[in-house]
């Protein structure tokens, strides 16, 4: 049996949820566990009002998104129009009005498509204890994280520097065989400081540093990206699940990375 505690601040929520409680975001995953009697802890902690954690605003060259912003909020904000194709690919319309950005960062495999985009965009998180951390470090130790996410700061990509692609078997609503995001800053046509992230290719969304390194100084064409494609799955052991085997994921990852980088055959 589950009990629900309502508090006023994220700090209070973090203090409760550090014990035997789970924090409620939009509830799309938490309530599913409640309904099926599968919640691993006996308590839910929630905020009385999430209004303060839903804002999306520019902050210099970056953009700050509140952890309680929903995919629907993202789709209504012109500040983050480059993220619209990402939010649109998460669940159906009703799910999008509930699913939060914070919840997506903690959503287990094969979910977390939005977090993949955040990872490519150099996301830095503000946490409930006032500290900052980058998304990559948080994801690496996600299961033991006791702090809650207050907001996410991301880079604002120029032009078509940001790319996202979700590969699924069912359209428009299927879960990911994999999702891919790339941020490809360029100067004089050459890539500098690329970030490539994969979802559903590891227990959490991950960056592929070997592929990023192979793109340094390269041009965005078949020859330029060859090294990145060869390194696409370096260091990854993709999971097997009902959608695809790890072997299949490894085999097709370079194909999808190529389409992502060259903007080919995009069905999104």
């Amino acid at each position: 049996m589950v009990t629900v505690t309502t508090v006023d601040t994220l700090q209070e929520a973090a203090a409760s949820s550090a014990g035997q409680a789970v924090f409620l975001g939009g509830g799309t995953l938490v309530m599913r566990s409640v309904n099926y009697g599968e919640l691993s802890v006996p308590q839910i902690v929630r905020l009385r009002s999430v209004a303060a954690l839903r804002s999306i605003r520019a902050d210099g060259t970056r953009i700050v998104i509140g952890a309680a912003a929903t995919m629907g909020d993202i789709l209504r904000s012109s500040e983050v129009s480059f993220l619209h194709p990402v939010a649109r690919q998460i669940g159906g319309p009703a799910i999008r009005n509930m699913a939060t950005v914070g919840g997506n960062i903690f959503a287990p495999h094969p979910y977390g498509d939005f977090a993949v985009a955040l990872l490519a965009l150099d996301a830095k998180l503000r946490l409930s204890d006032g500290s900052e951390t980058d998304l990559e470090s948080l994801l690496a130790a996600r299961d033991n994280e006791k702090r809650l996410v207050e907001s996410v700061s991301i880079a604002r990509p120029a032009g078509d520097d940001f790319r996202f692609r979700k590969v699924s078997r069912v359209k428009p609503k299927g879960v990911s065989v994999m999702s891919l995001a790339a941020w490809l800053p360029r100067s004089a046509g050459r890539i500098s400081g690329a970030r490539i992230a994969f979802g559903a290719m590891a227990p959490t969304p991950v960056r592929v540093r070997a592929a990023e390194a192979a793109l340094e100084g390269a041009t965005l064409d078949e020859n330029g990206i060859a090294g990145a494609l060869a390194a696409a799955t370096q260091g990854l052991t993709p999971p097997d699940d009902g959608l695809a085997s790890g072997w299949y994921r490894s085999q097709v990852a370079p194909v999808h990375l190529k389409r992502l980088l060259l903007g080919e055959g995009s069905r999104t």
Partner: protein, 160 residues
């Protein structure tokens, strides 16, 4: 088990009920309030038969913690008809054979209403997108798409 009071508006009228710990909104509407129009299909967000409109947005009542609707406006299919007069969407669903077993219908109607409330003359693509979270085992979807087109005063496959 502790009960908590929650007050909200259901189809325009005030509702004040006690919720159980961890109770979802679908269960509260059906067992607590007696509004049987939203249906339980899966309890995990995949079928859409429990779709209701909360503060103008379609949401899944099975994944909504009931106590979070405090102070909010909840709309269900029960609120569509005005006395004996059916809502334009209900008429159109009937005319276009958009319901067979009818189990998905309340969810489809609410997803469609949320669309038409914002977009009175949606394109076919917008309709498909709006009902993409709602599963129908019976109709093959085309009659439902037609019904929503008809309800918004647009030609359907049959009326060309």
């Amino acid at each position: 088990m502790t009960k908590k009071p929650v007050q909200f508006r259901l189809n325009g009228s005030p509702a004040a009920v006690f919720v159980d710990e961890g109770q979802n909104l679908l269960d509260l509407l059906r067992r607590g309030v007696g509004d049987l129009s939203p249906k339980y299909g899966c309890g995990q967000g995949t079928c859409g038969s429990c779709t209701v409109i909360i503060d103008g947005e379609p949401r899944l009542s099975c994944l909504t913690l009931a106590e979070t609707v405090e102070g909010q406006q909840v709309e269900t299919t029960n609120g569509l008809a005005d006395g004996p007069d059916l809502h334009a969407l209900q008429e159109a669903f009937m005319e276009n054979f958009a319901a067979q077993c009818g189990y998905c219908t309340p969810g489809m109607l609410m997803a469609a209403k949320a669309l038409l409330d914002r977009t009175p003359r949606p394109s076919r693509e917008e309709i498909v997108e709006a009902i993409s979270g709602n599963i129908c085992r019976c109709t093959g979807y085309e009659p439902i798409i037609d019904a929503i087109l008809a309800a918004s005063g647009q030609p359907t496959r049959r009326t060309g």
